[in-house]
Symmetry: C2
Subunit: 205 residues, 2 copies
């Protein structure tokens, strides 16, 4: 019996998520982000209700293989697989701007590993930015309990350097602390990231 | 054995989709839109590759109930249900603008039934428009083989009138022909809707 969060996400015990897995790491990184995601979803609900912004998390992409259509009840998906998403998790519109971002967590204390990102996510953010979209990452150092809004430009810089020059595989915490906005938790919305997007807009525009 | 499109959508035979169904109509309207959706997806791929715009169809929201984690292979979703989406199907960024739209088909010859839309989709488009997003519907009269880009304003007008005054339950074809952009099919992209979004932007901005 697998337990679930109200949003349908399977609840995985600590033991399970820490266990070394034979699967691609993508899924596990996703799990680590769960709690941050929930906080962001809640914040987005607040922003939506207040008429401040319309930002949604995209549904998890799934490859459906087998569906049952029972006569008197809803269709049941009997076999399906998780697919690699081709975009970031969140997007929406705020003050006329297209926002596009990822939410990522790390247990690392000194740096944010680039392995948290996939090439297609970076490509997607670059493409969005070219169209005038505002791209960033909300990242949390779980152990430090610190949340930052990292502009895509910083991520691209480290990502491209890693790709081109076999450069470092993570962004140092010290750099993040200096160059990213430190998000302070609030009561409502919990993660008031749009306040920091405003600052980002001031710099970009 | 259920057959599938390459994108994982179950392939339903004509017989099955025409059969009167005991389920809420939402699913069936979705099926009707399949081919138009595929054409739009293809057009979006073209726009993406050419660096013209970044527009994606959102994955189908699913409520996952049971997942199997076999030891040496990918996780299998064993039980899941289709959820009512809380937004429109498509969004993305184009020339600095947030675009948000639905794709809908009808077999009706004389009018486009408002039953093709759900209240939450209209609410979502209204909220996006308030934030400066560009909202519209790509609609096809299947039998007439005609595709239109309908600005959200026209949809809102008929929707609100239906709600408030128990007004007509569809938008007449003649009105659509007069007030919407008639999209001409092309080789690439098949549905060059961004050309018509340009015209919409000229009117709005």
């Amino acid at each position: 019996m697998v337990m679930h969060y109200p949003n349908g996400q399977p609840y995985r015990t600590k033991q399970l998520s820490l266990k070394k897995s034979p699967y691609p790491t993508a899924t596990l990184y996703g799990n680590r982000g769960m709690t941050l995601e929930e906080e962001i979803n809640e914040s987005n609900q607040y922003y939506l209700k207040q008429g401040i912004a319309v930002i949604h998390k995209k549904p998890i992409p799934i490859q459906i293989v087998n569906v049952d259509y029972p006569k008197r009840s809803a269709a049941v998906i009997k076999e399906a697989y998780f697919k690699q998403p081709s975009t970031t998790d969140y997007n929406g519109v705020y003050k006329g701007h297209y926002l596009d971002f990822e939410a990522k967590e790390t247990k690392n204390l000194t740096a944010f590993p680039l392995a948290n990102f996939h090439a297609h996510q970076i490509e997607h953010m670059k493409a969005c930015q070219k169209q005038g979209g505002i791209c960033f990452t909300i990242l949390r150092f779980t152990s430090l309990k610190e949340v930052f809004l990292m502009p895509a430009s910083l991520l691209f810089q480290y990502w491209d350097n890693q790709q081109a020059n076999n450069g470092r595989k993570s962004i140092p915490y010290e750099i993040i602390k200096k160059q990213c906005a430190h998000i302070t938790y609030q009561l409502q919305p919990k993660i008031p990231y749009l306040t920091y997007v405003d600052k980002l807009l001031e710099q970009i525009l």
